[in-house]
């Protein structure tokens, strides 16, 4: 199977800070890959490079067999890569339905004169657009009123709408930046089912997540970042047993520390980070 997304030796520098420092990984079609790492490890920076928002200092990224270096984010999306954001970024003064319809921008056949004159082509396109948008909303399990403004929805529903919006761009690869942030246990279970359902459509998924329980259960492969460097790449079982990962999360002294889901689920990363800073000082 060929790789859908191929990242080779990616570097991103902000002045003297190395946000991403030599990251390489690949994602295959229909695969769930998780990117984990302590806070500030460069996960979101790497995402922003891949989706075109940051311009990497060096390295290469190819998607679907073509390079996407120095390509506009909108073009990357049109080629089939969708993303969500760490903090919800829905269009706040638009309705739920319009939010999802907006994502179909590139796929609608409708010109300005069709729009002005309400030609059959326009009416057909709008009908198809509404149908697709409703289809995606149903797919993600949104069951509220689609005519409401998104700010009127509870947080969990907004998360669903954001995923529906990303799906409406018709992606081959979906980048999810901390989709479980702020969700409760039950909602996380629903999210896991949803992500698997998206994978079953044949969409590749790259996931940044802090919730280890969710990552370990969901991901087929995990890439671990620390200080912008890739420190491990493997199956969840391999990652759990990897001493370098344990060190990054729990600090260097504790070589004997038995690591299991529960230890990782708690908010260890922050503590580990603080410890590191203490050591360096």
């Amino acid at each position: 199977m060929t790789a859908l997304l191929e990242v080779r030796d990616l570097h991103l520098r902000f002045g003297g800070v190395k946000a991403v420092d030599g990251l390489s990984f690949e994602v295959r079609e229909g695969e769930i890959l998780a990117v984990i790492g302590p806070n500030g490890a460069g996960k979101t920076s790497a995402f922003n490079c891949i989706s075109g928002f940051y311009r990497p200092t060096s390295g290469s990224i190819s998607f679907d067999g073509r390079s996407i270096m120095r390509v506009l984010p909108s073009t990357i999306t049109r080629r089939g890569m969708a993303r969500t954001f760490q903090n919800l970024r829905l269009f706040k003064e638009m309705t739920v339905l319009d939010n999802v319809k907006t994502a179909m921008h590139a796929n609608l056949r409708e010109g300005i004169f069709d729009n002005l004159l309400h030609t059959p082509r326009y009416l057909r396109a709008e009908e198809a657009c509404a149908r697709e948008a409703r289809g995606w909303l149903d797919f993600v399990g949104f069951e509220g009123d689609e005519q409401l403004f998104v700010t009127q929805l509870p947080y969990g529903e907004q998360r669903r709408v954001e995923i529906a919006r990303a799906l409406a761009t018709s992606p081959k690869l979906l980048l999810l930046d901390e989709p479980a942030a702020g969700l409760n246990y039950g909602e996380k279970q629903g999210l896991m089912r949803l992500i698997r359902k998206i994978r079953d459509l044949g969409v590749g998924i790259v996931l940044i997540e802090h919730d280890m329980g969710l990552v370990m259960e969901l991901a087929e492969r995990i890439v671990v970042l620390n200080y912008g460097k890739e420190i491990a790449d493997g199956t969840p079982a391999e990652i759990k047993a990897n001493p370098v990962v344990i060190e990054a999360y729990l600090g260097a002294e504790d070589e004997e520390a038995a690591i299991d889901d529960t230890t990782l689920t708690q908010s260890v990363p922050i503590a580990a980070d603080d410890e590191r800073k203490g050591e360096q000082a």
């Binding site: 984010p73 909108s74 638009m94 907006t102 921008h105 149903d138 992606p171």
Partner: protein, 400 residues
Amino acid sequence: MASQLDQALKHAPLRAPAPLFDRGKPDSGPRSQRGFMRILGILAVVLLAALPFIDASAYTISIATSALIYIMLCMGLNVVVGYAGLLDLGYIAFFAVGAYISGILTTVLDWPMWAAVPATILACILAGIIIGGPTLRLRSDYLAIVTLGFGEIIRITANNLDVTGGPSGIHGIPTWSFGDWSFRDGLELFGIRFSGTILFYYFVALIVVTLGIIGLSRLARGRMGRAWKAVRDDEDAAEAMGINTYATKISAYIIGAVWAGLAGQLMATHLTAISPNSFQFLYSALILMAVVLGGMGSTPGVIIGALFVSLAPELLREFSEWRFLIFGVLLVVVMLFRPSGLWPATAVLPWLRARKPRAWPATAPIESLRDDARNEPAPREGRPEAASTGDPADDEEVRR
């Protein structure tokens, strides 16, 4: 259905599964948002058509005509400021471009007014690209400053060129004529004689109401309008949705420019004379105020704002010295009590506010998707057990 979808959508590798149930057509009765607005629109058109029969004095027709032209202008600015979220402080420049291009073509080159329309549109598109091209890469504050400068550049250029008549401007701009017949000749229909000014009033009303308002509200609801609003709400998220934000902003700018140019052409015809003084920064500020006061991105709001800005000076004639002070105080008061304008874009008609969404039919796939399976083994309270009966009232009862 599938083939229709294929025609409407470009090749997309991933299609949504069919919606779980048919929502039917959206309500378009007189109590729905769309239906209510349509009724208001029809009422306004009837009122416009009846006005010359109520009061045909030259004064009334004249201020009504210029009020309509202001509506056209504000609708255009609403695209730039309200929909695309670009603060433009030099919008009057496009109005000036439209007025001057049509003025020069009809007086110097003796073109008929209708022939100047394509030239005006073309000039405005060009002006939009020239100013928008470099400046729209800037973010809001810088854009405001650059557009402010551009507005002044156009006015000062017009003040110094020979072809624009310098400070005294252009005089004797002819009215619309078609072959041998012009509006000035008047028209007799059904035994009623319509004078030239009334004919021009109807002509302006026709353009403003049909072309201006309906056209723009159609654009706002379509693919392009959604892209404009997306760019306004969150530029990065819009880019991530496959919208080229730069091209989208330029398109908003160009559409705004064209509307202003057409308004400028109508104004040049209406006043028969134009001079650089009519295009001062003050007017840019005034129409921006109309848009903000009425409600950015809201068609009825902007119409109210435009009517206020154009009619208030007439009503406040005795206080002409105090006019701008009164405007200022009013703006502050409105912003304090209605920060998103008199008729905000997100306004929902009062009787629709309590509307409840239609309940979902209870189907297995949804249940398995929802997150409550482990948390709440019992079916959720209020979830309809039986399939929807199709009667919304029934559904609501079960749901609540």
